[in-house]
């Protein structure tokens, strides 16, 4: 059994949307190095409930690093200090006795706070709805190999398809840009022969939706790539720009 240690937390508490929030200090004495960051927050919440206080609201689902639900700004870094890691896969062994950790929600105008650390990321869903799909005939399953796809193309598309839509790219971007998210979706779908027919329309529609949702400009800081839990390359943004300019030359309207 590993020794337990003490962690000081400064957590953003906000009762609801449009309400003022502030950082509140908590001290946790029984932190175990094997706990994940979210388990540490669970322990805090048990303590708060026992004290008759309101527990801290935070988002999570799978706790396996694949769903993209958890989203915390930990000491000023989206998903905490480790590269290629979701908040749920960050473990307390990365911290030592007496450390102070500031926990804030992902911040952007397009990500309004719902409560405490929970933000509304449905703006990303609306970008997908604008064109992040491939229109196919529904009904019986098509023959899998009727449209051959080059292995290299398929692998590259899969790299971009690994985006779990957590929104860390937006949270870490000084401009609150969703370019990496939108770029990843486009780089995934625009690559395939199945995605080709709607390529221009999709690109224009998704870029326009991204603008309409109030996400900022990309200034090529590449901080998004640094915080991305699945390591999407900013090459996705370059591909988005290239496709957008091609659509523009072709006079495509969304």
């Amino acid at each position: 059994m590993a020794d337990t240690f003490t962690i000081h937390l400064k957590i953003w508490r906000q009762a609801g949307p449009d309400q003022p929030g502030k950082l509140v200090d908590y001290t946790l004495d029984n932190v175990n190095e094997h706990m994940s960051f979210l388990e540490m927050l669970d322990v805090l919440n048990e303590q708060l409930v026992a004290e008759g206080k309101e527990p801290v609201e935070f988002d999570y689902d799978c706790r396996e690093g694949i769903c993209g639900s958890c989203n915390l700004m930990i000491n000023g870094q989206a998903h905490g200090p480790k590269a290629l890691t979701c908040t749920c896969q960050l473990h307390m062994r990365n911290y030592s006795d007496g450390d102070t950790i500031v926990v804030e929600p992902f911040r952007a105008r397009a990500f309004p706070v719902i409560k405490d650390l929970v933000v509304d990321r449905s703006a990303l869903d609306r970008i997908i709805q604008a064109g992040g799909y491939i229109s196919v005939k529904t009904g019986s399953a098509p023959e899998a190999n009727s449209i051959p796809v080059d292995k290299a193309v398929s692998d590259k598309a899969f790299d971009y398809a690994t985006c779990i839509g957590c929104g860390a790219c937006v949270a870490a971007c000084p401009n609150s840009s969703a370019s990496l998210f939108t770029g990843a979706k486009l780089a995934h779908l625009n690559r395939f022969p199945q995605g080709e027919p709607e390529r221009r329309k999709r690109t224009v529609a998704m870029v326009e939706q991204m603008d309409a949702e109030g996400f900022g400009d990309c200034s090529n800081f590449a901080e998004c790539e640094a915080v991305c839990p699945v390591g999407i390359s900013i090459s996705a943004i370059a591909e988005m720009r290239r496709d957008y300019m091609k659509a523009l030359v072709a006079g495509e309207e969304a």
Partner: protein, 232 residues
């Protein structure tokens, strides 16, 4: 073409505009530095160069018009990105840190708006001090020409001018360190293998250009305009 206008207002279009004007301004800076370095040529080289430039007449006006347009568009996009940045994150972080790794969050990239605005203010002062300044006339091949070389020598012997100019050129180097790479990246020239090379070229280019511009005022200041490299 309504779709073109509309597209240029989208964030992707604005970025392309920013990079095209940025690359244009980089080309202008290379030409400007090359011209300035004629100060170290033979006695009349600099005045002959400026005289020839001014003799271009309407060609020069076209070049100047394109330059002014480029500067205005570039500054407009830069300032509007900064403006939107403030608007798009109304409540900032109590604590914010870069995660490092592939990130290009540097002093250079974070200060683009500051270095950009200083360069814009500098540009106005610079045009007033040299291009639109009253100068003595001198005779070159039997013609009366502006003695800009004498003006440069005079200005750069005052500490405020020599060191103020040096300071702004250091900021120019910082602006270019991020700007050079960013411009090519925005124009989608981003191949995983080439990207690192473009970034390195950008850093080297920014340093060389800044050194080139800084060398002139410091040399004139510290040699009192009588240095061996400058002939009369």
């Amino acid at each position: 073409m309504p779709s073109l206008l509309k597209a240029l207002q989208s964030q992707v279009g604005r970025k392309i505009l920013s990079s095209i004007t940025g690359i244009g301004l980089i080309i202008f800076l290379i030409g400007h530095l090359a011209g300035n370095l004629t100060l170290f040529g033979e006695a009349n080289a600099f005045n002959a160069y400026t005289f020839n430039l001014e003799s271009l007449g309407w060609i020069l006006y076209i070049i100047e018009f394109v330059l002014v347009l480029g500067f205005i568009l570039h500054a407009y996009v830069g300032i509007s990105i900064w403006w939107r940045r403030r608007k798009n994150r109304p409540e900032g972080y109590e604590k914010y840190e870069s995660k490092g790794g592939p990130s290009h969050m540097t002093w250079s990239s974070k200060s683009m708006i500051f270095t950009g605005i200083v360069l814009l203010v500098f540009l106005v002062i610079h045009l007033d001090s040299f291009k639109f300044a009253d100068t003595e006339m001198t005779t070159l091949n039997g013609e009366q020409v502006r003695d800009l070389k004498a003006l440069v020598m005079e200005k750069f012997q005052t500490p405020l001018y020599a060191f103020g100019y040096t300071f702004v050129m250091i900021l120019l180097g910082l602006h270019l360190r991020h700007g050079f790479w960013s411009a090519f990246t925005s124009l989608t020239m981003r191949h995983n293998k080439l990207s690192g090379i473009v970034y390195t070229i950008g850093v080297v280019f920014a340093i060389l250009l800044a050194i080139g511009f800084i060398f002139i005022p410091l040399y004139i200041y510290f040699t009192g305009g009588q240095g061996a490299l400058i002939s009369y």
